[in-house]
C-alpha cells in the first residue's frame, strides 16, 4: 500500500479574520497559532477525520518563523518588568511545541506530533510524516506549514487503505525519493 495525499488547502493571512476565530483560549493565542488551528479544522473536516481513531492521526507543524510574535511580546515584558511582568499563561506560547499542542487538542491527534523548524524549505516535514506512517506509528499525518507572512498550507497524508475505508479518494500518490 502507498501513502497518499487525500486533501490540501491554503489559508492566506490577508483572508484570515482573526475576530471571527472562536476558541476558548483565543485571548492567549498568537495569530500564527490561530491560523494553524483554523487550517487543522478545515483539513480535518475535509478528510472526515472524526472517522479515524485519534491514535492514528499525527501532526507535523512546519515553519520558518513560527511563534516569533509571542517571543517578542514576552521579551518585552521581561525587559520592562523582569520575571514578575511575565504572564505565566502566555509563557508556553514562546515554545514551538505549543501551537502544535493546540492543534493536537483541537482535532484529538494522539499519534506522533512534531514541530519541524527550518529557515529554508523543509523537505523533512513530508519525510517525517511518511516515516511515521511507514513505521506503523499511525495511519495518517496532518502536515501544516506556515510561512513568515503567516500564510498557511496544509495537507493530509495517509495510508491508501485508510482513506478507502472512509470513502475518500486519493488525490496524489506519494512516491519516495531519496
Amino acid at each position: 500500500m502507498s501513502n497518499v495525499i487525500t486533501a490540501w488547502d491554503y489559508l492566506f493571512e490577508k483572508n484570515f479574520d482573526e475576530q471571527a476565530f472562536e476558541h476558548r483560549d483565543s485571548r492567549l493565542m498568537g495569530k500564527h497559532t490561530k491560523i494553524a488551528v483554523s487550517m487543522a479544522r478545515k483539513l480535518y473536516t475535509k478528510v472526515k477525520g472524526d472517522e479515524l481513531k485519534s491514535e492514528d492521526i499525527g501532526i507535523v507543524l512546519s515553519g520558518n518563523i513560527g511563534v516569533i510574535e509571542s517571543i517578542m511580546e514576552y521579551n518585552l515584558a521581561l525587559k520592562e518588568k523582569g520575571y514578575v511582568g511575565v504572564n505565566p499563561s502566555k509563557f508556553p506560547n514562546i515554545m514551538s511545541a505549543t501551537p502544535l499542542s493546540r492543534i493536537a487538542i483541537e482535532i484529538g491527534a494522539k499519534g506522533p506530533c512534531v514541530p519541524l523548524l527550518s529557515s529554508k524549505i523543509n523537505k523533512h516535514a513530508l519525510m517525517y510524516a511518511c516515516e511515521q506512517i511507514t513505521a506503523g506509528r499511525c495511519q495518517a499525518m496532518m502536515l501544516i506549514h506556515i510561512t513568515k507572512r503567516n500564510d498557511c498550507f496544509g495537507c493530509f497524508i495517509e495510508e491508501e487503505h485508510s482513506c478507502q475505508k472512509r470513502g475518500i479518494k486519493p488525490r496524489l500518490i506519494y512516491k519516495r525519493i531519496s
Partner: protein, 393 residues
Amino acid sequence: MNKPDKHDVCVSGVGIVSAFGDTLEYFIKGMNSNKSDFTYISDEYILKNNQIPVLKSSCQPESKTPEDRILSMGNKAIHDALKDRNSDCLPSIDRICLIIGSGMGLIDQYYYDGNKYNESGYFYSLAEKLSEISKLNCEAVYIGNACSAGSQAISYGMDLLKSERYDLVIAGGIDILSQAAYAGFLRLNAIDLDGCKPFDRRRKGIAIGEGAVFYTLERRENVEFNENIYCSLTGSGVTCDAYHIVQMDPDGKEAIRAMDQALSFSGLKKEAIDLIVAHGTGTAQNDKIESQMINQYFADHASELYVTAPKGAIGHTGGASGAFGVLVAIGAFSTGIIPPICNFEEPDPECNVSIVLESSIKHDIKLAMVNAFAFGGTNVVVLCKKEESGVVQ
C-alpha cells in the same frame, strides 16, 4: 532477547557538554557521586532576580551571547561525537543527516539583541547554523518539541536509518540556560530553589540546567568493523496526550502507549527491561503520574526493575533531557552501575516505584527504557540495549 539484525540502529559515537564535564567518564563519575554542583549566576542571565541556583555546564568557556553559547556547546558535542566515532571515514559516507532537538533554541538571542532580529528564518536556523559551523556536508533538521525534543531527534534518526534514507545520523539534544524559560517557570511556581528532588516527598519543582549530547547513529551493517558501539537503540514510541498545553494527562494512557510502542517495535517483552531512566522532573504532579504509569504498565515486573532520574543531579536540560537519559543508560551498560537519584531523601507513598535511592547500585543492565514527556503533551520513549560485545568501558 532477539538476535542482532543488520538494520539495528547502533550508537557509535558520543559527544557531551554537561554539568559534570565533557566526557562520558566525567559524566558517569558525576552521576554516581550523588552530588549536584550548583553554580550561582546573577543577572547575566536572569534580569531583576539575583543569585539564582542553576546547573551550569562546567566545561563551557564564558560565552558572549546566548547564540555563541548554544553554537559553541553544540559544535563541541557534535565534533566530539564524530571524533569518538572516528570521523576519518566520513568523506566516504554520502548520506548524512544532523538532527537537533532543542526546546528553546535561539529564543534568548532575541532578548539580547533588543528584539531586533526580525528577519525570516533566524529563530529556526539553529540546525543549519550548527551544520555550517561543524563543517558537515549534510541535511540539517531542527525538532523544537520542548522537553522531548532530544529524544524525538533520536527517534527520528532511528526511523531514517531503518528505512535506509541515510547512512549516518548525528542526533541529540541541546539547550542553554535560558532566562526566558527561567522566568516562565518561576511564574508557574515550577522551580525548586533548593534543588530538584525527583520522586521525593518534598519535591517542589525543577532545577534549571543546560547541556548538549549528540550521538552518531548507524545501522549495524555499517558499524560491525567498529568496536566502539555503546549500545543499540531497539525501538522508540512517539505519542501525544492531546490533553493540555502544559499538563500531563493524569491517566497517562498515551505515555503508556509510547512505552508499549517502543517495546513492540523492538520485539522485546516488558519483562526484559531492567532500568527505567525516568523523565522525573521533580514536579509534584508529573512524578506522581509517571510512577503510576510505570506501575500500571509493568504490573508485577515493576518491583523487579530499577528507576533512576538524572534531573536531581544535572537539572532539567530542556530539549537535551531525553538525550541525557540515553547517556545515563549508556553509563549503566558500560559500568554496571545505576546512578542514584540525587537529592532524594524522603520516599513519597504516591511514587511507589523501585527508585534507586541514596547510593548507586551495581547491576548488570541489559535493557533500559528512557522516558521523555514534554510541554504540549508529546511522549517519546526510547529503548536502549546493551551490546554484549564491544561495550565501551
